[in-house]
Symmetry: D2
Subunit: 364 residues, 4 copies
């Protein structure tokens, strides 16, 4: 299932070393003017090859619009984006197909697709498929911005170095704006040195390191989402878990709820200048699966890049024997900085879907 959505649909296609990756976005409202420069900036945030912290693979991630955009606005019919694969070193992958990489989908893809998958560079499981997600999210962000909604994220943790958290009841717009364009977004810039050191240390040791991202969306009106399977948490968790390497998704106070009392966890309602708000925001802007008008807050854990330079123990699934592997290709010692725009993008896309199913859109 490479199609997702209730009120708008995204369909992904492509493999890392095939002709192209891309997506079909079906259900965009007609008449939306897209700021393509802003889309390119989002794509550039995800693109590899930016610094010593990321993979050496360099791709412009130049995209072409196949359909759905005409005379300066969306048509309302499917918008297909195509992102050509250019800097592929497929020969890197020759000769080790049968040695399955630990932490990767090599073995599971082999079973799931009966040995027929394109294994080069992870194929359809590659992080490269997040490029069309970022594209989609960039458009979603623009539509949501038209509704006064702003999305941002920062690196909450890399290794054991932590940034502070968002103020749950809301951040200044300037804070979110600054984060939106940062290559290494932090609430406290002074953590950057330690985090970068942590990453470079891992790199030097032929290793990688994981992290956590905190995301916030401000300006969402109350009433989006549904109880049960269509809860805001269900929709967004589906999308976050669609991103390779994500292994944890929590909302509001998340895991901390386990040790809380109800009297703490219940966010007290009050009116401020005629507007209904909560004094705290442990619930992360969601009650009963539906937005309550407070900032939406979530945290996403990203595991360490499974591609590491070290020799690892594994098996040869053809010979059915033990062997070792040293993963070829060019890899990020820490995927977290590049994951930030991807996670923002899927958050934006999920919110766009919820928006299009809400009374806010009906009355818009």
């Amino acid at each position: 299932m490479n199609t997702f959505g209730q009120h708008i649909h995204i369909t992904l296609f492509g493999e890392s070393h095939g002709a192209a990756v891309g997506a079909v976005l079906d259900g965009l409202p007609p008449g939306e003017t897209v700021d393509w420069e802003a889309v390119k900036r989002e794509m550039a945030r995800r693109a590899p090859g930016q610094s010593a912290l990321t993979t050496a693979r360099r791709e412009a991630d130049a995209f072409q619009i196949e359909s759905g955009y005409f005379e300066g606005h969306t048509t309302g019919t499917p918008l297909c984006v195509r992102i050509q694969n250019t800097d592929t070193h497929s020969q890197d992958y020759a000769g080790w197909r049968q040695r399955i990489r630990p932490g990767h989908a090599d073995y599971t893809a082999q079973v799931r697709y009966r040995g027929c998958q394109d294994y080069r560079g992870g194929g359809h499981f590659s992080g490269r498929l997040t490029a069309p997600l970022v594209f989609a999210g960039a458009i979603a962000k623009q539509i949501l911005a038209g509704q006064g909604i702003r999305i941002a994220a920062h690196i909450q943790q890399i290794g054991d170095i932590r940034d502070d958290s968002f103020r749950p009841v809301g951040e200044e717009p300037a804070v979110l704006k600054k984060l939106s364009s940062a290559a290494f977004p932090l609430l406290h810039e002074d953590r950057r040195t330690a985090m970068e050191a942590c990453i470079l240390q891992a790199k030097q040791e032929g290793d990688s390191v994981g992290g956590m991202v905190e995301l916030m969306a401000q300006g969402i009106p109350a009433g989006w989402g549904d109880p049960f399977f269509g809860s805001v948490e269900s929709v967004l968790a589906t999308l976050f878990y669609a991103v390779p390497a994500v292994k944890g998704v929590t909302f509001g106070s998340g895991a901390a709820f386990a040790a809380m009392r109800g009297s703490q966890a219940n966010d007290a309602w009050y009116y401020e200048a005629g507007r209904l708000r909560t004094r705290t925001n442990h619930n992360g802007g969601i009650n009963g699966g539906i937005t309550n008008g407070m900032p939406l807050l979530c945290r996403v854990t990203v595991k360490p890049t499974p591609s590491i330079a070290r020799v690892q123990e594994t098996v040869d699934i053809e010979a059915q024997t033990a062997c070792t592997i040293q993963v070829p290709g060019r890899h990020d010692p820490c995927i977290v900085p590049r994951a930030v725009p991807v996670l923002e993008a899927v958050l934006a896309w999920g919110l766009l879907d919820l928006y299009l199913g809400s009374d806010t859109y009906r009355g818009a």
Copy 2:
């Protein structure tokens, strides 16, 4: 959206104080004999009124089968289950509709449903809707058991008291079996006294307390699930987040991945008696969204019951003024023990859906 599923569909209906709650299960394989006593035992695990730790509301949760079961087996056509509401004290809820309960869906339901929702006892948002989920899960467990798959869970944490975690590479069947029938399932029974004390302390103070549940499914073959939106994590997270009060869902090592190195996080492959396994199981049995044959592991955070006896600050949304509220009705000081069978149920249901879409079912 009260219908969910890719290869089998569940549709929920009902309100806490309406005529009945129930579900339609569509897509069950024909010819499955259901052990109804086992279903009743699962229902009883969730049912209220069992001890001082749970709500005083007592309901047998007796269910009737409306369709889809004939001559001792499933027919393959929709199985509808109806669970009548009996012990409703609707008058408890009179006169305070406009005072919205903190931590509940009162306000969000009001906006979402334009003031038309059945507000009594949480209406369609009530935990009572988890009864049909447990029913569905009980049937799913039986079908999965026929494939050698066993599901169990334990209370990982209540307040700041923690149980040990599952051994990631697998537990003895006896351990899982014992947990399956326990009212207060723990790996280490000696934590029970402290946890119960924690709950009763909260109760005495008119308060409630949250917790965390760890779940395991053993015996799942490799190859279930899909990349991206149909990942095992996406499917299961959707279902966990469909359960009221859930605010965190992680897989495998979850949040701990943030501080890990790739060389730790990558589970090394090896053959044991000709069977492919991993030495560790940080990935919780899932690579690239697809099961890898190792035990599936996840943790779910449950927030404290929002219904507490204490006076809380809130607003009257009709008068648009501040006020206080003392939530009426009969409530659990800690929902976690009753959440265990519900979370097991949705896990089982999600796995059933994945099974029916897998080559395992094709070849079965």
Copy 3:
């Protein structure tokens, strides 16, 4: 797949001789007041046992609302309706399970459900399942009426007796109103005698007869529906073909288009009192899958009731030998009059789905 819908979902359940049949309607707008007497009238139009023309099985088709209706209006959460089975003569069906009835789903259900289906009275394939469809349609009609949309149908043909057709560019509201409450709706009442004679003749001969129904929906604004798979024709055809015994569905001039010239078939646009209309309406109110503001017109062919009193050639699928069958039970010699309210109902339901996805609803 017993669930259908894009913007609103209906889920059917039940078997002819089980405990109950029913449906879950999910996505009804909140705040709709239902005229239950009008719903009962629609149910009565479909109910059996009304005259010598229909089956002797008598069932009140009394329904009970399990959820989704509160304080005199829809809540917006799932509305479940339950219709108890009362007048079942299951013993009629004993002893001939293995002799498959020609024209029925006995054999196909046997294969599809691996021999586990409830075979009594057609089980889940029974025309009785159309009772919840009529219920759903009755509610849909009321919501559509609030938008100025009126649906009606008449018997276009029974055997070789034909009624006239609707005036494609529109009928007087009085005409549609009269048809809506007729037990045997005809544009030309003088065809009734011949049609009834045709049915009774078939009945006397232990046989049955087929027919055709023409349906019209007036008042639909332009702009509902989608190109391709979401075309108005696709949506409505899915629903019509979901009704047992339907074997033909055409729109506008239907089969007659084959012999037409483009210059005839193209409906010329013009303004009448500032309102855009077409001079003819061969396209039945639909261009490119989307409503154009003209009356929606379609014709549905209903095959003769397969249950006939005559001895028929068939096989015993257990013994795998030839045999004969004389179908037991009580049956309609012509299902067409009772099919009319069912077809109106699914038309209404399909239009409700299209409405809820349209800009008309957004701006409503």
Copy 4:
């Protein structure tokens, strides 16, 4: 909704005068080797510019595979096909956007997409979007052929010239094979002269003419499909009605059922050489929405090409005044011959979806 399918998904994109049209096919079984020459032949059957009977627009309909095919077989991940638009004369369409073409989707697209649609050459509503449908169907045909299923169609009618019908209980494989490669497929070749004369007559008069296509699929096992919304008729009708210009879809004896008796319409079962068959096949191989093992038969009515050279009455929707229009561009006087491969293709695609959801695939 440009995505369709239950067990396999197709997503369409593109506009007639945009960069490209195409489709994403998601859910193809892995390991299928595609005969690309056969795909090209199918594409060529639909392609324009073949004779005096079709439009002068010439496009090779060359396609490129973006993903999902590797080392000579399908991978099981999404197969994206891109068909570049080359011979577009967009200037043909300049200056008459506001004059809506009768019989076309110009006005309905305008309302549905709020005036933002790409209007050139019909945009997303263009018959050009059937190219990716033919592509998808060509692959589906190959997979079905591997299961012994053969699909063919012939022109049943053009204007008032009729071909004979298929023998309902089955045709010789040679008959179907011959039809499959014919540019103008007929059971009785001697009707060709009259049909071509009928088309050329219309062309000379600046007009167009409609027709009907009959389709057959042989070799389908019993047990595919579902009751109600997933009936074979519902699935196939959705797909047929997704094809532009289709206005009628019937199965088996179709409209003729209206004048039939049950004793005629019921297809008597018998065993022939141990295989269950019916003596007649009025039901077109479907009982209760499920295939019964007999040939699947359906007829599809195609309206006359709405683009005609004649001056037609219409309106200027900007000025809101009456005007005339002479449709520019290059058009087919009769779309029926080119519709044949398109209708075969969607039939094949629908059958592939049903196959992948059937026990036949499970046991394959």
